[in-house]
């Protein structure tokens, strides 16, 4: 029985690749064994550090983009203008230590949070603009805060209102009506501010071009609480009724009649509203997105307060526990098991709960690892999914071009003569038309008739159909050299079919060179795809690829202020193509030791 030699099995190959080569010490009487060509290749490859580094980096990227999206799925239709161009951070709910154990009032803004502690001091955390960092000062203690899109309001113990943050659209101009009276509740909304006075009147100021919140004059003086989303506001009255403050007829207008007169608390998401009645029941009306209408059964009859974010609700129950339901894209509807909670506050994608000792509990969106883009989408998940699309397009384009190139090159090289002439002219025609402009034209003409997802397949086919000539020429050259060898003559003499001779006898002899070429053109196809997408002629929004994430990033504002939008995709794409080329280069050297010098 033959002795088993190291390197002869697949496991050995893997071991060599990942653990390095086993250095065998030979005694003076031994000779180094003669190696098979494949083992020599493997050895040459594993000895070249740049090739191995390239291989490892590529494998890491490959595993990351194919496995991680399972855990970080991308919601393709997701857009949220309140989260746009947020820089990478994880501090949305990292409240200051001083606040913990002494929290009086907490509110979450779009990407930040504001809180007041028992000594009346305001704390802020999260991603703050320069204007937001200038906190208001007052001799009196602050008792209440409210955070909006990019501004915040505070209320001191004398009922005076303070505002800071974004000061455009007259947000900084607190109306005299408000400053003259004692205010009970302040509310910072989407570029709008609202104040409710002790006497029950509501005042609205801010960007009224964006949202108009009409307050019916006959109801002024009866309001007890107000809530708002980015399009309208709702308020409760002393009589326990819900009033919709909107000039338009919306789904919000259809307040269930049976709750009117019994409402004790109110909350509003982007598309729906919820009310708690005096018997502890929760009623949701309006839209049904993200399952906001699926109120957990165990909270009915026990709810005392409710709060809402962009698409989820959190309810405080009479036994001091909390429950959340609705939109769960950032785990904001996954409430932890808490007890002795006395107040809750939800906003956007965050939740805060304060227990009777003033300790704070949070759940929901902590921040974005790589920031967000101009539509408020998380760049990290887009980068992963986009990488998968980019790699898939590159791979399938290479397979298409490989098939065409190998078939055409083989026939052309083997048969020669007229076939060769014709096929090589064809290759010349395809090669003569510059790649990028032609691909752009094809994409523009075909792309206008198919869906966005169809475009992905279209790009694969276009790249595959346009990039085969160089491979065909390479295969042709190799086959030309191989067909004169004895084994081909022998095969012919045995009467083997010509197609079989080409693909079973000759091709395996030249396949290594072809594989190297395919590896290098894989990187090239990825580059072409991303160039096309970058120019806007490849895969378009809302699908993500590394190329189209960079679309529109040559703008000076994006370059300077939103660096995360181009730095991360650029790094991912570059790392991937560089590593493939390094590995491919090493493969070429390994196969042909003579080409080591190239």
């Amino acid at each position: 029985m033959a002795k088993r030699t190291y390197g002869s099995t697949f496991t050995d190959v893997l071991k060599t690749l990942f653990l390095g080569r086993r250095a065998a010490t030979l005694s003076i009487l031994e000779e180094e064994q003669v190696q098979s060509p494949y083992r020599t290749m493997l050895r040459n490859f594993s000895e070249k550090w740049s090739a191995m580094l390239g291989l490892y980096i590529f494998l890491a990227i490959f595993l990351a983009v194919f496995i991680l999206p399972i855990f970080f799925p991308m919601d393709i239709g997701f857009q949220d203008p309140t989260q746009k161009n947020t820089k990478p951070s994880s501090s949305f709910m990292r409240y200051s230590k001083e606040l913990d154990g002494a929290a009086v009032s907490i509110d979450g803004g779009s990407v930040f949070g504001v809180g007041v502690d028992a000594s009346g001091k305001i704390h802020q955390w999260g991603t703050l603009t320069a204007k937001q960092q200038k906190l208001p000062t007052s001799a009196a203690k602050f008792v209440q805060v409210s955070a909006g899109l990019d501004h915040a309001l505070a209320l001191d113990e004398n009922g005076r209102v303070y505002t800071w943050g974004n000061d455009r659209f007259t947000l900084s101009a607190i109306p005299p009506l408000v400053s003259g009276q004692r205010v009970k509740q302040v509310l910072a909304g989407h570029q709008i501010s609202m104040a409710l006075t002790e006497s029950g009147s509501i005042s609205v100021w801010g960007n009224t071009n964006l949202i108009t919140i009409p307050v019916p004059a006959d109801r002024q003086g009866t309001f007890t609480k107000m809530v708002a989303n980015t399009t309208l506001a709702l308020a409760t009255t002393k009589a326990g009724e819900v009033v919709v403050l909107s000039s338009k007829e919306t789904p919000f207008s259809y307040v269930p009649p049976e709750i009117q007169g019994k409402v004790v608390d109110l909350a509003v998401t982007e598309r729906s509203a919820a009310a708690v009645t005096s018997d502890g029941r929760v009623v949701v009306w309006g839209g049904e997105d993200h399952g906001v209408q699926e109120i957990p059964a165990q909270i009915q009859g026990k709810t005392v307060a409710i709060s809402a974010g962009r698409g989820h609700y959190t309810a405080l129950l009479s036994d001091g526990t909390v429950a959340s339901w609705g939109w769960n894209n950032y785990k904001q509807a996954k409430a932890p098991k808490l007890k002795n909670i006395v107040s809750i506050s939800s906003a956007y994608f965050q939740n805060y709960a304060v227990d009777k000792n003033g300790k704070i509990y949070t759940w929901g969106l902590k921040g974005y690892l790589m920031g967000t883009d101009q539509y408020g989408r998380d760049l990290f998940t887009r980068l992963l999914t986009g990488g998968r699309v980019t790699l898939t397009i590159g791979a399938i384009a290479v397979i298409i071009s490989g098939l065409i190139g190998i078939i055409i090159g083989s026939f052309s090289g083997y048969y020669g003569g007229k076939t060769d002439m014709l096929l090589m002219r064809l290759a010349e025609v395809v090669n003569a038309i510059p790649f990028l402009p032609l691909a752009m034209i094809l994409s523009a003409i075909i792309g206008s008739r198919i869906s966005e997802t169809g475009r992905i397949s279209m790009i694969m086919v276009i790249l595959g159909l346009l990039s085969w000539p160089s491979l065909a020429r390479l295969v042709r050259g190799q086959i030309l050299a191989a067909r004169e060898q004895e084994f081909v003559t022998a095969a012919k003499a045995m009467g083997i079919k010509e197609v079989k001779i080409i693909f079973r006898h000759i091709l395996p002899n030249v396949i290594t060179v072809v594989l190297v070429n395919l590896t290098l053109s894989f990187a090239l196809c990825m580059l072409y795809e991303s160039s096309l997408s970058y120019l806007g002629f490849g895969v378009n929004e809302p699908n993500a690829t590394w190329g189209n994430m960079l679309y529109g990033c040559n703008d000076s504002t994006v370059m300077a202020q939103y660096w995360w939008r181009w730095v991360f995709p650029a790094i991912a794409l570059s790392l991937c193509t560089v590593s493939i080329n390094m590995a491919g280069d090493g493969m070429r050297d390994a196969i042909d030791p003579k080409s080591n010098d190239r």
Binding site: I433, I441, D585
Partner: protein, 327 residues
């Protein structure tokens, strides 16, 4: 020699014809009626009968009433004559429209040639001579990285470094808007705007070309005549620059021509990124505006360019190496 050129010319014509048929078929498959698009702007201001008359007139003028074959030949002859059709967006003949962009593109590309040559040839030779040294290995890795990086990533990086962080160059454009002055002043302004796209173009070309020069030089240095030259006692300088380099030129010409052609299409990305008003930007704008006549003209231009480039490349083999017999 003459026979060879003639045969190559016939090939070129055949390839050109086949490619032009393909492109024309592509052009015809575009949805939409070009005659209607031509009248799009003033549809509202016309009476129906007048519109109809103008429409028929446009159809006749564009030759849309004739059979497709006739249309193809008319188009082909016009293209060869240099009449590339009518731009629907710019409302003027394509030929008139592409004058300025063409000048800009050629200027950018020709200027980029000089630094590319000045850097890649000495660097390639130096690494080939010192093959296997630490210097060589470092250059090898850097050049792989250089040619693997996408054009636009390098462009974005350059913009970030030299136009945003250290604002010494303009971020985009060809000329300062509304600048009036002496021709020298205008020229300097243009050069100033060209600095960034030019550096990116040079930078992206370095990797591949350096590697290629190195490879051909190594091949040449291995030849027997080099050994002979050394044995004769010639100085290393003469051996490398006179004996080896001249022989390394042949494959180098191939890549040089290919690279020169590709830079016209490769500059699509750079021109788009720097909003450089060149041919690449024209083709993108044309496609975005559904102005397919212009984009087709561009591709025909590239096609002719690359075919002639290939011919010149073959001919220059003979010039670089008298042993090459053209047959």
């Amino acid at each position: 020699m003459f026979k060879y050129v003639l045969r190559r010319l016939v090939y070129i014509v055949v390839v050109f014809l086949v490619a032009s048929v393909l492109l024309f078929a592509l052009y015809k498959s575009v949805p939409g009626d070009p005659a209607r698009m031509m009248l799009e702007g003033n549809k509202a201001s016309m009476k129906p009968e007048e519109y109809e008359a103008r429409y028929q007139d446009a159809v006749r003028r564009l030759g849309l009433d004739k059979p497709v074959v006739i249309q193809y030949f008319t188009w082909l002859f016009n293209t060869i004559k240099g009449d590339f059709g009518y731009s629907l967006t710019y409302k003027m003949p394509v030929r008139q429209m592409i004058g300025v962009p063409m000048k800009n593109t050629i200027m950018l590309n020709v200027w980029s040639l000089i630094p590319v040559f000045l850097i890649t040839i000495p660097l390639g030779i130096a690494t080939a001579v010192r093959r296997g040294s630490r210097f060589d290995n470092a250059v090898q890795v850097i050049t792989i990285i250089g040619y693997s990086l996408p054009f636009f990533v390098i462009a974005l990086l350059f913009i970030f470094l030299f136009a945003v962080k250290i604002p010494i160059f303009p971020i985009s454009g060809v000329q300062t808007p509304a600048l009036k002055g002496t021709p020298t002043r205008m020229f300097l302004d243009k050069l100033y705007h060209m600095a960034l796209p030019l550096s990116v173009m040079v930078f992206t070309s370095l990797g591949g070309l350096t590697r290629y020069v190195r490879a051909t030089m190594i091949e040449a240095l291995r030849m027997d005549y080099i050994r002979t030259a050394r044995a004769k006692g010639l100085t290393e300088k003469v051996v490398i620059y006179s004996h080896a380099f001249r022989n390394a030129l042949i494959p180098f010409i191939t890549i040089m021509t290919g690279w020169f052609i590709s830079i016209f299409s490769g500059s699509v990305v750079i021109e788009r990124t720097f909003l450089w008003n060149g041919m690449g930007k024209v083709i993108i704008d044309a496609l975005n505006q559904q102005d397919f006549a212009v984009s087709l003209a561009m591709v025909m231009f590239y096609l002719i360019l690359s075919l002639i480039g290939n011919l010149l490349m073959d001919l220059s083999y003979g010039l670089a190496d008298p042993r090459v017999k053209l047959s």
